[in-house]
């Protein structure tokens, strides 16, 4: 049985990628399960989607713990524990990461002895509107790596799954998926089917019994105020709003009131963006009447920041 796990962020089309891949398998005569994991559907959140495919009926259910192929649409998810990218990975698992960095870098960084490939297609998507097409590229690459899905089946699956979105969207997805499919030609069939799991050999884990506590003790209680600030939602950003104080009129209330997250506060009559928490929605960029806030790609902003820290000797 093939077990494929997709990791991406909400808005990158992971659910769609799993549907496309599932349908393509089905068109090739496989029994298929494809499903996203239920969770928050919001943009930017780590999203999981799963595909199982086999020639025989599939009795396995639930999330995929030991994938044969892991697709990572957004490389910033790898170090986030909640994203669970590395969960259950063995030497057998092939990882495909959408990243501008080299395969060797990832192999070393993750100390992974199995195969790692990077997806050269759509590596530099900075426009948010382009994000959903990353999913189609992932599905295309996965189809080729698995090796049992023809280009025709992939195209048919995209047409079947996306036809209500209009010809324009279908064509963009087809273009990206086919490009990724072809880019993976030299690795066709690299994914090996995992073996079936039998319940006969199941051994219960060493459970630790905990006594039942009174609700006053066992109920989760938070005693501190506004602990959510410990969560760095700034990691979600693909673009960063930057205030140009030469043009800022210091009105303060517009960006500060409209920022949905309250991540813009006014310090000494100047708006200050809290980059630890700014999610990069760009509402402030759209609303600033004097156009004093600019959106720059997060990657570029980080590179500029590092260059500056290097210059002042903060890092070496």
């Amino acid at each position: 049985m093939y077990r494929i796990r997709f990791h991406g962020r909400g808005g990158q089309g992971m659910k769609t990628a799993s549907r496309i891949l599932g349908t393509a398998f089905f068109l090739e005569g496989y029994e298929v399960q494809d499903a996203p994991r239920y969770g928050a559907e919001r943009r930017g959140a780590p999203i999981f989607a799963y595909v199982r495919a086999d020639r025989a009926p599939i009795n396995e259910r639930g999330i995929i713990r030991h994938p044969d192929l892991v697709i990572v649409a957004d490389d910033s998810l790898v170090p986030i524990p909640a994203a669970g990218v590395l969960a259950g990975i063995t030497d057998h698992s092939l990882m495909l990461i959408n990243s501008a960095e080299k395969e060797q870098v990832w192999k070393q960084r993750l100390n992974h002895s199995g195969s790692i490939l990077t997806l050269p297609v759509a590596a530099d998507v900075t426009e948010r509107a382009e994000l959903p097409y990353v999913g189609a590229a992932c599905a295309g690459a996965a189809a080729r790596l698995i090796g049992v899905i023809s280009e025709a089946a992939l195209e048919q699956a995209i047409n079947d799954e996306l036809s209500d979105l209009g010809a324009d969207i279908v064509n963009k997805n087809l273009h990206n998926a086919v490009a990724a499919y072809r880019a993976m030609a030299s690795h066709a069939g690299l994914v090996k089917e995992g073996s079936l799991v039998s319940a006969v050999d199941y051994e219960a884990p060493d459970w630790i019994d905990l006594p039942f506590d009174d609700a006053r003790i066992s109920a989760p209680t938070i005693h501190a105020a506004a602990t959510s600030v410990l969560v760095k939602t700034g990691l979600w950003r693909t673009q960063r709003p930057v205030i140009d104080f030469d043009h800022c009129k210091g009105c303060w209330w517009i960006c500060s009131s409209y920022c949905p997250d309250g991540a813009i506060n006014v310090v000494d009559a100047k708006p200050v963006i809290d980059y630890d928490h700014c999610k990069g929605c760009m509402v402030c960029v759209a609303q600033c009447p004097s156009h004093a806030i600019e959106a720059i790609p997060e990657k570029q902003a980080k590179a500029d920041e590092d260059a500056m820290r290097l210059e002042i000797g903060e890092i070496t």
Binding site: R43, A225, S228, D261, K279, C281, A286
Partner: protein, 310 residues
């Protein structure tokens, strides 16, 4: 920070630092969070939120909370019942002098449209019947957003949802919750939107000064469910008001007053065309019949308002 806010007259009176904690798991560009953070600045930390299941229950996921006071999670249909329990408990504590008047809390229900327009309506009706002293805030993103935007009783006609596909979108019509609430004659009912923070802040401040059931519906543009670039949240909200789709109004002392009447209403399609959920009305070809129907409903509403004004 405005724990004890002064009267809000103009935009300059809006708070410049914010009480609601950052780091919440709401989507980037969330229209509901945009309204809520202004509301929280006005209401202050002496509040207890009663949150029915929905997007906003993700605000407080143990061990994180953006609130500075208490928060109670209830099932989808029972937030007003939860509010009743808390109000009663506070009243008993006050009566027994175990807390002072200063330590009293404002009980605030927070639910989405799924709970407010649909399955929680019965409990809400009962709370108004009993003249429960609380504030109800409905963040209305016109669908079950947290689970992938299935249609709700608040979904507008013709919108595409994950359960209303096809060339015409959702066949039903948005329920008129404002009028349903007004029919109960509570202390206060108002519609608000985050894109007009001044109107919003004034209404919340007014509600705060009153007693009894005070009911607020905040139209909450939803980049995920309505399918648009998150940066457009405020623009879409503003267009909802400017096109007349979302009338800003309030009810108090037996009277409904529109707090903002768009004299030169923009065509409704300016609002619709920015949203992917209405894309099928424009592509592959314009659905003139549906567009005209949506426009006609908005026009009919405002004609009635204008007649009533004269």
């Amino acid at each position: 920070m405005t724990d004890s806010s002064d009267t809000i007259r103009g935009i300059k009176d809006l708070p410049s630092t914010h009480l609601l904690g950052t780091g919440t798991p709401m989507c980037a560009g969330c229209g509901a969070l945009e309204a809520l953070h202004v509301i929280y600045d006005i209401l202050g930390s002496k509040t207890v939120f009663v949150n029915a299941a929905g997007c906003m229950t993700l605000l407080s996921v143990y061990p994180f909370t953006p609130f500075r006071g208490s928060w109670l999670y209830t099932a989808m249909a029972s937030a007003p019942a939860g509010a009743q329990g808390i109000r009663d408990a506070l009243d008993i504590l006050l009566q027994q002098k175990r807390i002072t008047q200063e330590e009293d809390l404002e009980v605030v229900v927070l639910t989405g449209d799924g709970a407010a327009y649909g399955m929680g309506l019965s409990a809400t009706s009962g709370s108004m019947e009993r003249m429960l002293d609380y504030i109800y805030i409905c963040y209305d993103n016109e669908g079950y957003g947290n689970t992938g935007q299935q249609y709700s009783a608040a979904t507008p006609h013709a919108a595409r949802t994950s359960t209303s596909h096809g060339v015409s979108g959702f066949a039903g019509y948005k329920k008129n919750l404002f009028d349903i609430w007004v029919a109960h004659k509570p202390a206060y009912v108002a519609t608000v939107i985050g894109a007009d923070p001044l109107d919003l802040a004034k209404k919340i401040e007014k509600a705060r000064s009153m007693e009894g059931p005070r009911m607020i519906i905040a139209l909450s543009p939803c980049p995920t469910g309505w399918d648009y670039d998150p940066r457009e949240t405020v623009n879409i909200g503003r267009l909802a008001v400017k096109t007349g789709v979302w009338p800003l109004k309030e009810y108090a002392d037996g009277e409904v007053v529109h707090t903002k009447i768009p004299r030169q209403r923009a065509p409704v399609e300016e609002y619709l065309k920015l949203q992917g959920r209405f894309a099928h009305l424009f592509e592959p070809e314009r659905n003139e019949v549906l567009l005209a129907e949506i426009q006609a409903r908005v026009d009919a509403y405002w004609e009635k308002v204008e007649v009533a004004e004269k």
